[in-house]
């Protein structure tokens, strides 16, 4: 990209050309088609090789799908038939999941916003600090959520608190990544204008960049809220409460209609959140 920019500098070739004049202008030669096919083939081959390696590693058996697909049908049919009578019994767990999701999202969003600004090249000119923040955020993201939950259960004990803390760690990872990437891609014109008016980076980021990424931030926050509701199923596995525990209970007794009801409730929340997110984005943009 950068080399192309220099090459197109008009004055680079401009002056001498002009001297030519006259009608006999030499037709600009057609460039040869660059041989990108080779590079593409190499990339495709590498991807195929990785896929083959992974496929052998996990023993892919497509024939089994053709042979046994009908095994899952009965359960899937049961899962499409929720037991509405079960709704009242889901309320306490649902409430706990919502509480955990709301709190975790609120804390996660509040902590992530400044971190995202520190983690983006567009808003943090201080390279060493940038690298440190990015490294720590990579670290935070690479720990599986179930492990956060397991360790936090050991540290702070069983219950909503460890669940919330696990979700917060998880949320920070997501929001910082997505928002700092949005910042990287954001048009920095207004920020440049603020800097040109003598503002410090902090003030320029606040005044010029924050409003620009607010829609992204809002939608990512809502997205993490959705994830938090869904992750409660994982968090529940280690005893951190919420819908996860309930799901564990009903599925271990093959109460698929009740499981279906829980999934249906999650679905409603997912859909409502998506609609709200779309609406909010439209308002903010």
């Amino acid at each position: 990209m950068s080399t192309a920019g220099a090459g197109t500098g008009p004055n680079a070739s401009g002056t001498p050309r002009n001297g030519l004049g006259g009608p006999g202008r030499a037709p600009a030669g057609r460039p040869a088609k660059p041989k990108s096919a080779g590079a593409i083939a190499v990339v495709v081959l590498i991807l195929l090789a990785i896929t083959l390696w992974a496929g052998l590693g996990i023993r892919v058996d497509l024939a089994a799908i053709a042979r046994n697909w009908s095994n899952a049908v009965a359960n899937i049919i049961q899962l499409t038939q929720p037991d509405y009578g079960f709704i009242p019994k889901t309320f306490p767990a649902l409430l706990e999941t919502l509480q955990m999701a709301v709190i975790a999202t609120a804390i996660g969003a509040a902590v992530s916003l400044p971190l995202a600004f520190l983690a983006s090249r567009a808003t943090n000119p201080h390279t060493p600090l940038l690298r440190v923040v990015r490294f720590v955020m990579n670290l935070v993201r690479s720990v599986p959520d179930i492990l956060y939950a397991a360790i936090l259960v050991a540290v702070v004990g069983v219950g909503a608190l460890s669940g919330i803390m696990a979700l917060v760690m998880f949320n920070i990872g997501i929001i910082v990544k997505l928002v700092s990437e949005a910042l990287d891609g954001e048009d920095a014109g207004a920020q440049e204008a603020a800097l040109a008016a003598g503002a410090s980076w902090f003030k320029a980021d606040r005044a010029a960049m924050l409003p620009q990424i607010l829609p992204t931030f809002a939608s990512q926050t809502l997205y993490t809220f959705e994830i938090n509701i869904r992750a409660s199923t994982v968090i529940g596995l280690v005893g951190a409460g919420g819908l996860g525990v309930l799901i564990d209970n009903v599925r271990n007794f093959f109460r698929y209609h009740e499981l279906s009801m829980i999934i249906f409730e999650i679905l409603i929340m997912v859909v409502v959140l998506e609609m709200f997110s779309a609406w909010l984005r439209k308002r903010l943009v």
Partner: protein, 324 residues
């Protein structure tokens, strides 16, 4: 999708037809499919009740012995999830399952998997679930005394025959309790049923969820929980790594006897093969190597033909606490 779902709601407890109807009428004896072709290989699903890492090592001799006796390859897969094991057997993805009593009944009710064998431990085909604590002064009415294995028991629990010491369990109210998934007979169903009988509801205790019996012991041993549930006596598994577990963790109550776990075989095998498998296992359990290997896996000392009626006790206990 929303509309499609809502249009066909059903009640979970209405009999939906099929195999599950069997739960209401007497014990389930399983089915077979005599038209089924002979299997070319078999999968053995094990739900660990101990350290799965050790299970991996001890399951090898079992695989080899069965392969040897049946003439087709048998390989073992460990799953920590009860539901996964039952579904695997139900769909003939696993043909043999080493399962707790409740899952044997479930696999039979739901998919017709035949309960063929039950394990014997110290020649008993049932065992008690135990409650233990690291705070004996609170739960013991007498001084803890060493049992035959040298570990401490109080409230008359040393014999291992349940029920015993249930009068002191009401004190569990409000404590941190380590327990297994609600599908575990000894790690959840029987203790919770016993507590319920004494007027303590699940909501009255704060649960710490673990997924194996020795983990439950360890949680109490390490002080994460005050009380724990497991089978009798899961401390023996832990003792190897933590010799002082017998003195730090004291058993103070035993529940009603729980039917032993056992072996189910897929209902999609022919009766012929079901019998072959069961015979092979019985035969292996009689050999000295068999006893060694099975002891290493589950402290099993022998096998006997499954008592289908006794299996149902677990389901009944589960029903009594609103599960199943």
């Amino acid at each position: 999708g929303v509309l499609a779902l809502s249009s066909c709601g059903v009640s979970q407890d209405a009999p939906a037809g099929g195999a599950s109807g069997a739960a209401a009428s007497g014990p389930c004896a399983g089915t077979n499919d005599d038209a089924a072709a002979a299997p070319k290989e078999l999968t053995l699903a094990l739900v660990p009740s101990g350290d799965a890492k050790k299970l991996v090592d001890t399951v090898k001799p079992l695989e080899a012995a069965l392969t040897d006796r049946l003439g087709i390859p048998v390989h073992g897969v460990i799953t920590a999830d009860y539901q996964a094991a039952v579904e695997a057997i139900g769909s003939n993805q696993a043909q043999i399952g080493m399962l707790p009593s409740l899952q044997m009944s479930q696999a039979c009710d739901k998919y017709g998997a035949k309960p063929v064998l039950q394990t014997l431990r110290k020649d008993k085909s049932s065992y008690a679930a135990q409650m233990f604590t690291n705070n004996p002064s609170k739960y013991c009415t007498d001084a803890p005394a060493p049992g035959p294995n040298g570990m401490l028991y109080c409230n008359g629990t040393g014999s291992g025959d349940g029920p015993a010491g249930l009068d002191s369990i009401a004190k569990v109210k409000g404590a941190q309790v380590s327990m297994l998934s609600p599908a575990s007979p000894a790690g959840y169903i029987f203790p919770i049923a016993a507590l319920k009988a004494k007027g303590v509801a699940v909501e009255d205790i704060s649960p710490i969820k673990v997924t194996a019996n020795d983990a439950s012991v360890l949680a109490v041993y390490k002080g994460d929980a005050e009380v724990g549930f497991s089978y009798w006596d899961a401390r023996e598994v832990v003792k190897k790594d933590n010799p002082d577990v017998g003195s730090k963790v004291v058993v103070f109550a035993l529940t009603d006897e729980v039917p032993n776990d056992g072996m189910s075989v897929s209902g999609k095998l022919s009766a012929d093969w079901q019998k072959k498998i069961s015979d092979a296992m019985l035969d292996y359990a009689k050999t000295p190597e068999g006893v060694t290997a099975l002891t290493a896996i589950y402290q099993i000392t022998g096998m006997k033909t499954a008592d289908v009626a006794s299996l149902k006790k677990t389901q009944d206990a589960a029903h009594s606490i609103g599960l199943g």
